[in-house]
Amino acid sequence: MSRVRSVLSQLWPRVAAIAGLVLVWWIVYATGFFNRAVLPSPGQVLGAFGDTFFEPHPPRESILAATQASLIRLVVGLAIGITVGTVVGLAMATSAKVQRSVGSLMSGLQALPSISWLPLAILWFGLTERAILFVVIIASIPAVAIAAASSIRLVPPLLVRAGRTMGARRWTLYRRVVLPAAVPGYIAGLQSAWALGWRALMAGELISTGNKGLGHLLDANRQLFLTSNIFAVMLMIVVVGMGVEATFGVIDRRVRARRGLLLAT
């Protein structure tokens, strides 16, 4: 019973926020201040969402198909970006020289919005899948590398000393003590890598006039002046984002609760 109540108490602020937003939106729509072709009503958007979720309207694909295409790109891009970023981060953590050289490159790269790589990527790879993937990969590498390196450097020295006095050395020490101790910081890096990768992907799909994906669907709807459908696709982007974010939240909380890093609420 109390469990139901605690779920409700967590849920109602979110529901209230969404309800408030929809209400304001509806009021603005009802006043007729904006042309109704420019600003559709919440109901029209929901209708467009329902109409096009499963059903493709050629030349536009369905929202579901576009979501699938975008998620596949995201997963492939992140898999490569996280792998490379992790390797670079480990190298940065192990060698001061690599940290100073590659590490500063990573900081510089992070300051550069990844979408600014797209013009170059298109020249290098053409209007292909690879150009979009490149932007996702380049967005995620520095976040992962910097988080991996700094979380390893911040491992409490006492734990390393304890491991050494028990006879753990080199690779064993690294694998059994240093890496597990660095996990919470690394997860934070993955979280920001996914967020950066997702933004880069949407921008990439929007600009590169590919032929599928949520970003592309946005642009296709714009060309046909279908504002309701634009809103519907944006809604889908938010839903995907919140879903992934919530998944990371659960993992992060589990890891931290296990280690006593979570304040009791």
């Binding site: 734990l159 101790a181 280690r259």
Partner: protein, 276 residues
């Protein structure tokens, strides 16, 4: 041993061979301003097989440094350190260490922490759980084996650290003020438990503390270190039979003696600190 006249003559421990030895050991550190701070100056110390030695001294006297040198966590600037006559070059499970912080791995259960120590000394996987549980029961933690370290009280965590150290089956136990962060009651309980366990295992033990009562209660020999840079001032042999009692009048007398000595060393430190 270079020393001022000792309060009590220390009888030789007889024929027991030196388990640990430090000869002419010096160590200094670089401070934040780039200067050099001398922590230990030409220290000689021998610890016999099965002997319980407490190092005591004012803060900054280098007692923890000496312990880290024996542990192999640091290297001396001069002099040599040996275990069984072999030079100490790096840390190893033959010299288990108890730190002031229990230093349990927070991502592992209490049981897994002890199993980790067993794994490091090459105990087969099938045997680990059983043996880890034996050590945990020994320190009255059998019921908390599956808890995470953060779920335990400070005293229980330090017990778990003791179980982990003992599980290494070390020849030497090194302890760096392991009970300093505990409240007075818990500390006394753990001192009794440590005495109990040690009476059975009889590991060679070097125990750093700044608590004279604790030192006298636990040790065969209490070595008093000087104001920094650390050298040895005097040492006391505590011959009282075990199990000992905190209320023992003879022990209390030794405590008073050592305390007087320690106070003098602490006064020197304070005088140096307040001098303009």
């Amino acid at each position: 041993m270079r020393a001022e006249p000792a309060l009590s003559l220390v009888p030789d421990l007889g024929e027991a061979p030196a388990k640990l030895s430090a000869g002419g050991v010096s160590k200094s550190f670089r401070n934040a301003r780039g200067g050099t701070v001398s922590a230990l100056v030409e220290i000689d110390l021998e610890v016999r097989q099965g002997e319980f030695v407490c190092l005591i001294g004012p803060s900054g006297c280098g007692k923890s440094t000496l312990l880290n040198l024996f542990a192999g966590l640091e290297a001396p600037d001069a002099g040599d350190l040996r275990i069984d006559g072999e030079p100490i070059t790096r840390p190893g499970p033959d010299r288990a260490v108890l730190f002031q912080d229990p230093a349990l791995f927070p991502w592992m259960s209490v049981l897994s922490n002890v199993e980790f120590a067993l794994e490091m000394i090459g105990v087969a996987k099938a045997e680990r759980e059983e043996r880890a549980m034996q050590w945990l029961r020994r320190v009255h933690l059998g019921h908390s084996a599956n808890a995470q370290p953060h779920e335990l009280s400070g005293g229980m965590r330090q017990r778990a650290a003791l179980a982990r150290a003992l599980a290494c089956q070390p020849e030497v136990l090194l302890a760096d003020e392991p009970f300093a962060a505990l409240d007075a009651q818990t500390r006394e309980i753990l001192q009794r438990e440590l005495q109990e366990v040690w009476s059975e295992t009889r590991n060679t033990f070097v125990f750093v503390t700044h608590n004279v009562r604790e030192a006298v209660f636990l040790a065969d020999r209490v070595v008093l270190m000087s104001a920094p840079p650390g050298t040895f001032v005097t040492e006391h042999r505590i011959d009282a039979p075990r199990p000992r009692d905190f209320e023992d009048v003879l022990l209390s007398k030794v405590v008073v003696d050592i305390h007087a000595h320690l106070t003098r060393e602490v006064d020197k430190v304070v005088a140096r600190e307040v001098r303009p």
